[in-house]
Symmetry: C2
Subunit: 337 residues, 2 copies
DNA sequence: ATTAATAATGACTTCGAATGCAAAAATTAT
DNA sequence: ATAATTTTTGCATTCGAAGTCATTATTAAT
């Protein structure tokens, strides 16, 4: 029942008969301490259960050792894995993850305030849409930023991004090859950069093949939205040959809505393609034709870039684009007519 | 290109013609400052872009304002949502989430060291299996702990837990009602407390109905493990009427394996029940009969309990158990024979 | 108007580790 | 053995806000 008092470096120093500086140096890698004192200090420190206080260290070194990871609350099926990977990669570099979720863009100012306050060493932003002003603010505060899955070569920030462009083109090519003639695009939300990119690339590529005025409907990247949007649209529009969904979950939503309420099977009556390569897309009953994002490489690249930038703040912004893997599923069937 | 120097409370004080203490008090809620000084300070602070330094504050107040959330890397489909909910609830109480992932129990010591180091205000542990010693250590360091989804009334820690017991019983009852006679249990990993509880309750309940020696196979809570375990088992064992899977994803794995490689349909040839109520379980092509965990309530309870404990460290440990919702899907069909 | 009570303020210390600097000790060179 | 060099060491200061305490300004009471 003893109110355990924290053991400080002074306590250890007194006990070991050395100065506080000596204790400090023992726990700082790469500082010169004689073997004798090192051992002496280590022994008493262990005996007393001493651990350096990270907070005090942060204050004096001006480095928190924490990286802010900002996640928009828009559920993306990949995030859990991305988050876990980021955390793993960052842990290996002795950085901790401080988590921020962003409900809407309104909250961004608040998040930024907090970020200054916590003196994080850097920021990895998943799907939060920062504008120029935001990025400038980060730059002014000397906080390096890596944008995850947002291609922003023009901005003064590092970014790592899956090659949505290429992936969408592969999917469209596939649909054209298999003689699909009419299309519907189920885009992600309009305030998502990734969604906009995927949609525009699809439109452009279809136009390239001579198919213009492709109808577009929207959904918030989730299953129920997809079902709802698609059923609304299907009410008073002719059925397309193929639906190009912004992600796998929405592709599944379309397939289910078609099956349950329109009595249409995929791929017999309707081809559907997705994007991301999440687990659900690979389930036997769906097997979506999609493009799998290279998550491990993306997260690893994000962390590497951030650390590079932290260590070398004046290195120029870099933008990495990694290609996904085209996965041929069972959700596309060649059209004969 | 100006190396922006941090603005401190001293800077603001000087500029506003007051003392540093005054500035500090303005930014501390509930401290007495005259309206005049408050306004003066706020104005200059804003003009200078001053934000109190959280690190310095932590050091002096001995409160980091951070809560460690420990997640085992074992992918649980619920975690992303749990994490996001926890973060949301904690943010509202002005706590930040510091994320720790735990690869295996070996890493626990390291995580605990870090936790002391960061002086977190409390810990929420998802699925990490702490033993008595661990919990004692937390107690010794005066770090309140809430165990999430682990029923531990004996331990000196708070816990919040879905009523797995009741849920499993409902599922078994359903299977018995519908005249299932032979069973197979697909348990989660043996080192997971939740998995063990779900398995044992199922075994007990079946025994209560006079069904003993129910075979048990194992899987690591994931799809591919489930498929593999089930196919191995099916090779040289008679098919059961029903499979009781430890979670929805494994239930889906069983259904897919049965369909793809054993040419069996669910529920015609094989009934399957899951647990959790994840999105995938509700997809049209699966519609698993399952029990949905009350995630929002669980996370809210976890946060409430933790904060209560932080504010009132001597309150006695509490254990809350919340019931899930039984969801009747299409994966169970009454047997006639 | 004078005293009593209350509110506001600033000087100074504190939290715990890191580090520049000068002094001391250990090592090497002569 | 002495000087020159290098390595260790400890003192004192720093990081930035919070809070204690004594002092001063303000308000209320008589």
């Amino acid at each position: 029942m003893v109110k355990q008092k924290r053991v400080t470096s002074y306590d250890v120093a007194r006990e070991a008969g050395v100065s506080q500086s000596a204790v400090s140096r023992v726990f700082r890698p790469g500082f010169s301490v004689s073997k004798k004192t090192r051992e002496k200090v280590l022994k008493t420190a262990n005996a007393m259960g001493y651990r350096p206080n990270a907070i005090a260290r942060m204050l004096i070194t001006q480095q928190s050792g924490m990286v802010a990871v900002i996640i928009s609350s828009r559920a993306n099926e990949n995030y859990p894995e991305v988050l876990s990977q980021l955390n793993k990669n960052l842990s290996e570099k002795n950085k901790k993850v401080l988590l921020f979720t962003l409900d809407d863009s309104a909250g961004l100012d608040d998040v930024m305030e907090q970020i200054w306050t916590f003196q994080v060493d850097g920021v990895i932003a998943l799907a939060a849409h920062f504008d120029h002003t935001n990025l400038e603010q980060f730059a002014n505060h000397n906080v390096p930023v890596v944008l995850y899955n947002r291609h922003a070569p023009e901005a003064n920030a590092n970014s790592v991004c899956c090659n949505h462009d290429k992936g969408i083109k592969q999917l469209v090519d596939k649909l054209i090859e298999t003689k699909h003639k009419s299309f519907l695009i189920l885009s992600g939300p309009e305030d998502s950069d990734v969604a906009n990119e995927r949609r525009e690339v699809a439109i452009d590529k279809l136009k390239y093949y001579g198919i213009a005025d492709v109808p577009v409907i929207y959904g918030d990247y989730n299953y129920h939205d997809a079902r709802h949007s698609f059923s609304q649209w299907a009410k008073d529009n002719p059925l397309p040959d193929a639906v190009i969904a912004a992600n796998d979950i929405m592709a599944i939503g379309v397939i289910d809505e078609a099956r349950e309420n329109l009595n249409l099977s995929t791929p017999e009556d309707l081809s559907v393609v997705g994007f991301d390569g999440v687990l659900a897309a690979s389930l036997f009953n769906y097997q979506i034709t999609t493009v799998k994002q290279p998550l491990e490489q993306l997260t690893k690249a994000a962390v590497d870039m951030l650390l590079e930038r932290i260590e070398n703040p004046d290195s120029s912004p870099e933008s990495r684009v990694l290609s996904g893997t085209f996965i041929e599923g069972q959700s596309v069937k060649p059209r004969t007519r």
